[in-house]
Amino acid sequence: MQKIGVFVCHCGTNIAATVDVKAVAEALSHESGVVISQDYQYMCSEAGQNLIKDAIRENGLTGVVVCSCSPRMHENTFRKAAAAAGLNPYLVEIANIREQCSWIHKDIATATEKAIILGRAAIAKVQLNTPLTAGESPVAKRALVIGGGIAGIQTALDIAEAGFEVDIVEKEATIGGKMAQIDKTFPTLDCAACILTPKMVEASQNEKITIHSYSEVSAVKGFIGNFTATIKKKRRFVDETKCTGCGACTEVCPMQKVPNAFNLGLNNRGAVYIPFAQAVPKVATIDPNYCLKLRKGDVNEKVCGKCAEACTAGAINYHQQDEYIEQKYGAIVVATGYNPIKLDKFDEFAYNQCADVVTSLELERLMNAAGPNGGTLLRPSDKTHPHKIVFVQCVGSRCDDSKGKPYCSKICCMYTAKHAMLIREKYPDTEVYVFYIDVRTPGKNFDEFYRRAVEQYNVHYIKGMVGKVTPKSDGKIDVQASDLLSNEQLHIDADMVVLATAIEPDKTARPLATMLTTQMDTNDFFTEAHAKLRPVESATAGIFLSGACQGPKDIPETVAQASAAASKAIGLLVKDSITCNPCVAHSNELMCNGCSACEKVCPYGAITYQDKEFRTPYRTTVMRRVASVNPAVCQGCGACTVACPSGAMDLNGFSNSQIMAEVDAICK
């Protein structure tokens, strides 16, 4: 026999001014199952909650209906109160008579009538509520960080610091990512390598951190707290455990015409290489596309083999195969980063026609002391010192067409100011022009930085856009552009042109998102669970986002987000088990057809099938395929309940019969 308590809140006059609360309490007291119906000034106050607690204890209530403000406001408050009095918290229902009644209606009679109906619906529902207990699911105490740039490194360090094992999976031969290629950082102009490489070393020396370089994630299964990832360690033809990073092999390699990817092809390297001096792990890698021996196809043939001869550690292994590692993780952090876009569709800037038209990232290498020119800024074409440099902003960013990206790449305004300033500082005889559409400098000390470029370093900022870049026979580059403020078309005889190229998510991001069942936007940036309130979590539980894979970001922002993602991951890893929302779907096996309709609509992959034996008449049995819901993964949307034709799938807290009871009560 149900014993339901009804509690009608005045909310001061918020409710009581338009709803006759006494009449509501009176009317609802006659509903079937209701044993007590009271009204009170403020139900959410301590006294109000005590009223409910006492009523539960004294009357042995089996269900509570609070007619008050929106459940989004105080459902939890009243659930806790009920639990404190020994009633299962899921036996509480709220009738929203404030936001959805007293606040929107003026006529007391009709508002009161509606409040009564809403109360009745809640009573009808609560009669069918069942006590629910949140389930638990264990958490594997290990995190996977995908991507070993500054974002991945920071996240891994923070998680390791908290005492958890972390694996970094990096597709390149070294960790460090884009930041390792950058020369100086804004707005402080400290050297990127000086602040990054110690972190790389720290990561490699931290015993909690395992770095899988030259590796990729090839499969991910499971759910929050319980992921299983397969990591493919690509063969680098060098035994990582033996290689000392001495570099002897790289010196003897006769194939020295390989475009140096780390320097963006601005110079060449050997077929066996260590990406850069501070690489982590400092281990050689052989590029099989260029290695004279490996290119042959048959490694047993007597071709070259000079690196193996030179290696005193015996680390070179031409027979090495890809290796697969399977590992369990509680949390996964995505830190796949970004790349500049290809500029093939923007050849009005002559990028493909003129070596002295470069991207900003290329300029970083050209200016870097470890770069192709040892830090002296020289034109790639003739290695002469440029005296006039034109920077073009927004190349491929903010585009409405298929050529570019619709978004602002965010970092270009600041790094261009940095480049301009560094050049003017080091080469005062070089004129620098920056063509901009808008200069966007929100960030601490950012605008001051940009102003310094203009006021202190006398960089010429011109509002307008370059329309055509024409390389000339005398080695100069004619830059035709508009100056919108003086309303004229300019021609600048430049020595170099630097294109602030739009950035885009790494190409590996999309297949990874599919693997992780996380969302992406149309630009292939990972979508956060909530744009404001959950910026480092993906909508898929247990998957976190770090750095530019979520959207364009500069280094300080990336590091901040990396640490935030780490703290979210740590918050998960410290738990031995996670509490699951009990309002999840469940399948009645006796009615389940095993047809897979529910599985098809489940956005979380929470539904699996198994063959089970069922009793049939005459002591026979039959094997049937039936669905089961993993309560740790299910988020309780209910899509499956409608896809299920037999009604075998139902949702706790919002069951078919509960909703139907509400419908009936409202339509009565």
Binding site: R72, G638, L651, F654, D664, I666
Partner: protein
């Protein structure tokens, strides 16, 4: 169906609202004191995709004159894809009801975000008016359930 003093027809409207967007949008129209008729009674569901066509038919059976379903805007679903399924299901259901000769203005789907309190109120006002014009639901009700 409700009949008030001046005997003007007062339709009964059942509104299913998803917890994350539309129910919050309804709350917001309350917070902003934006009026809509008392005819509208809201039932909270976790997601618009929780709404089974059976619920809608049940409401009509029991005497509802109009049923409206509100969810997050496509692309904004808290559960990523729920409202896309809703959209297909309801399009087909409404088309079928229309095919059976049920007045099409008795059913509606509207996407209302948690920020669109004004849209929620405006939608409810419009929908109530539209159903009022149609008069009582006669084509799809269970006579046994009609209030005497």
């Amino acid at each position: 169906m409700q009949v008030n003093d001046n005997k003007e027809f007062q339709p009964l409207i059942v509104a299913f609202c998803c917890n994350w967007c539309s129910y919050a949008g309804a709350d917001l129209s309350g917070t902003n004191r934006l009026n809509y008729p008392t005819n509208v009674k809201i039932i909270r569901v976790p997601c618009s995709c929780r709404v089974n066509p059976i619920f809608i038919l049940r409401a009509f059976q029991r005497g509802a004159d109009g049923v409206i379903l509100c969810g997050c805007h496509p692309g904004d679903c808290h559960y990523t894809s729920g409202n896309y399924f809703t959209r297909r299901r309801m399009t087909l259901l409404f088309s079928m009801l229309d095919f059976l000769g049920i007045e099409r203005d008795r059913t509606r789907v509207e996407w209302v975000s948690a920020a669109e309190g004004a849209k929620f109120a405006a939608t409810m006002n419009e929908f109530t008016e539209a159903v009022k014009k149609l008069g009582p639901n006669r084509r799809l009700e269970d006579l046994r359930c009609r209030k005497q």
